[in-house]
């Protein structure tokens, strides 16, 4: 069963510590896959998980949890949709999808707020 995602829904994205700049802001590179702006950005839908569970999915220590509001990527032209990850038993998995650019990665990073949750 796919969940509708409203513009007010929170999305969680793990942010590696090396993506955090000296002033505490998030780098646009947090929204790259390999060397390109990611057209299928993995996030967790906040109301179907917890911040702790989401950060626990990090495979490396030191990742911070970044929080976006679904309306922001939509305002940049992305589609935000629920996409459960059955293989990894993550029902909250969702995607920010669409043609992506350096500029849009920059805007996504600007819209991301860091929580205090850190992976161990």
């Amino acid at each position: 069963m796919l969940e509708p995602i409203s513009n007010d829904d929170e999305l969680y994205r793990r942010i590696a510590r090396d993506f955090i700049k000296p002033d505490g802001s998030v780098s646009s590179k947090a929204f790259y896959f390999k060397g390109k702006p990611d057209p299928h950005i993995s996030v967790d839908l906040g109301r179907l998980t917890t911040k702790q569970d989401s950060i626990n999915r990090a495979r490396k220590p030191g990742c911070r949890l970044g929080i976006l509001t679904a309306g922001d990527p939509r305002s940049y032209g992305f589609v935000v949709r629920h996409d459960p990850d059955v293989q990894n038993n993550n029902f909250s998995h969702s995607l920010i999808e669409g043609e992506n650019t350096k500029e849009l990665c920059y805007k996504l990073a600007e819209s991301t707020k860091l929580s205090s949750f850190i992976s161990s």
Binding site: K21, P22, Y32, G35, K60, T101, K102
Partner: protein, 179 residues
Amino acid sequence: MATLDRIETLDDLEVPAQTARSFGVNPTANLSQSPVTGTWYPVPKPSFHDLQVSFQRLKSLSELESDWDSYGAEPISSSSIHLALQFLVVLRNVFAGISNEKSNGLSQKIEPYAIIPVPNGGVQLEWRGSTKDLELEVEPTGVFSYLLIDKHTSGKTFKEQSGVSLAQAIGLVCKILID
């Protein structure tokens, strides 16, 4: 290729002489050519003593393991690290010539505000200016690309381009720092 532990001077980086000259640096005589007047200036033997923060940051990025971002990122390639260092040294020498002319301490500004790893093994150097910011990516293949952010009172405008030359990349950073 030299390891980061023994890199101390431009010679250690093995910058091809032709590349160095194309950026106004005479690698054998340690001369820097002013991009303004074309005059050659003597500069101290290049070292990383005034680029220590960048050097240490790049060194720490070189130690990142596979999947460091938890989304499948590749380790940062030694070629990206070396190219970024080469770029900073050449930039420093170009600015040394400008500073000699204007004595305005421009060479103090060349250290990037942030150095960020790119998930394909590349490195991003970021500078912040009063009206413009620059994100310059150095890819493992040696290709440069950038995002230029123009900051207005009414908001921001953006320009991005891939496959830019070293000379263009130097010019962009100069534009940010002199701005």
